[in-house]
Amino acid sequence: MDETILEIDGLWCGYRNRAVLQEVGFAVSKGDFVGVIGPNGSGKTTLIRAISGLLPLQKGVVLLEGKAIGEMGRKELATKVAVVTQSPETTPPFSVEEFVLLGRVPHWGRLQFLETRRDEEIAKRVMALTEIAHLRGRGMGELSGGERQLAYLARALAQEPELLLLDEPTAHLDIGHQVQIMDLLRRLNRENSLTIMTVLHDLNLAGLYCERLILLHEGRLHRIGPPKGVLTEGVIEEVYRTAVMVMEVPVKDRPIIFPVPGEE
């Protein structure tokens, strides 16, 4: 069970000469459900980009199943790590099904031109799993925000990754869709033992669903551990510079955070 899938050590990463992440190190076991939290600009998205290979590392190592990601080919990495990015900028000119099938592309050879039967079966399965099978013929531009996010998740799952990275999958969604997405992630994690690492802005969702939390603060790893240990009044007040009240959800043994309005 405690097999390590992702190991990060002494990681410095950022843009041009500016290091956003400084000296970050941690390990993720197979089957873990990790939430990445922290204030705006603390380096959450940069961390996802570093692990997915999008940003070159300035220092340190990122090992996936013991192998440095810099030494892996693009396709090899894309068959192991799938990424659901934060609100992608363009509307894909495809139907939902065509879009989900694109998730199979990393598994294709250079000259492969058509989907195989297996590709289609996998697409069908992940669309059923994400409950978008009825939308298969719909254009991507015709979807609501929640449906769209599910389609992106389905495409990532079609890659059959070992590690699923998500950057704020619940942003801009109503509470129903937030819970739908998080429930789905938890089910994938428990039933398919998929390793999940997701950036979350909503501390309550992070506390309710994740097994472990990574709290980033000014580009450094501030805290790591189970939600109860990370989401304390003291830690949040220090990092987010705002007063909060933390209570416990009685049944689940998980913290719930209330913001405390400032003095009038």
Binding site: S52, R74, T85, P88, E89, P93, L101, V105, E115, E120
Partner: protein
């Protein structure tokens, strides 16, 4: 789903191929000497020695072949560029390639080089001009290993302006026959007496569609955005460079032989996308065939509309292409 779409795709390709054949036969038949299209195959293969055979083989067939090759090449150059820029307004000429070719040809004409160097001299100078612009645009828009597409587009547009200003300068300083030569070349024409040049273009054009199909799946991934394509395992920077060079070279080769024939690379991909959808695996093939059909048809109109005078084919492509496009947009209520 691609697999159950395959019959549909094959249907489109078959339909467009037949249409291309019909249009080609039609184009071979009309002109000062009208030839019934039923007899054309017979005349081509068994009519040696007759004047009709000579007209077909030496006047009309080269034109049809060149039109098909250039129309197809410009259309797929448009598909590639629109796909990778994710911008519906980009076309082969936006990037200044035609401007560069026109500048090369203008310089050649005014310096009198074309008289000394013979038939190949104009296309060669056009091609060198195009290559010059492609290199400038490529170098200026690439920092380190990364090619920035927004930068590429801006630089292309600016280079285009600079080239056309220089051409106007040259024209202002030129008189008589040379000026006429420049204007005539810029307007574009499929009249090309040199058979080996036509063969070269056909070869390049077919090579272009073949290579672009290898990258059709990458283009599909790129149409989601560069970051998304990266996460799908596409070597984004390498693919972008290859596609840019492919589209540029196709355009450069076509322009240097035929002059500037606008609109094919802009309008054809759009119309075809309305018909077959955004999947580049069918979009590229269907656009290639449609571009060929469109240009052969426009050239036929240009030849016979006010015979014995000939209209510049670029005028027809612009008029027909623009009107058809506006009609299609307003009818289907499609939004881009």
């Amino acid at each position: 789903m691609a697999r159950d779409k395959l019959p549909l795709w094959i249907g489109w390709v078959a339909f467009l191929s037949v249409l291309l054949l019909v249009v080609a036969l039609f184009s071979l038949g009309v002109g000062a000497v009208a030839l019934p299209w039923r007899e054309i195959p017979l005349l081509l293969f068994h009519g040696k020695g007759t004047p009709e055979h000579t007209i077909l083989l030496q006047v009309r067939l080269p034109r049809v072949l060149l039109g098909a090759a250039v129309g197809g090449a410009l259309a797929i150059a448009g598909v590639i560029l629109q796909g990778m820029f994710r911008n519906p307004l980009v076309e082969p000429y936006t990037l200044g390639i035609s401007g560069g070719a026109a500048l090369g040809v203008s310089l050649n004409i005014v310096s009198g080089g074309s008289h000394k160097l013979g038939l190949f001299s104009l296309p060669l100078s056009g091609f060198l001009g195009a290559i010059g612009v492609i290199s400038v645009v490529y170098i200026l828009s690439t920092r380190g290993r990364v090619m920035r597409l927004s930068r590429l587009l801006l630089i292309g547009v600016m280079v285009s302006f600079i080239a056309s200003s220089l051409i106007m300068l040259i024209m202002a300083l030129t008189k008589g026959e040379d000026l006429h030569g420049i204007i005539f070349w810029i307007m574009g024409s499929l009249e090309e007496p040199n058979y080996s040049l036509i063969k070269t273009i056909i070869f390049i054009s077919l090579g272009g569609i073949f290579i672009s199909l290898i990258f059709a799946v990458d283009l599909n991934a790129l149409s989601l955005g560069e970051e998304e394509a990266f996460h799908l395992g596409v070597e984004v920077e390498r693919v972008k460079k290859i596609l840019f060079l492919l589209a540029s070279l196709l355009t450069g080769c076509c322009v240097s032989v035929t002059g500037i024939i606008g609109f094919v690379g802009l309008v054809v991909p759009h119309l075809v996308r309305l018909l077959v959808g955004g999947d580049h695996r069918i979009l590229l093939v269907a656009s290639y065939l449609s571009g060929a059909i469109f240009l052969v048809l426009c050239d036929t109109v240009a030849r016979v509309a006010i015979a014995p005078m000939e209209l510049p084919v670029g005028v027809i492509t612009g008029l027909v292409g623009g009107s058809v496009f506006i009609y299609a947009l307003s009818r289907k209520g499609v939004s881009f």
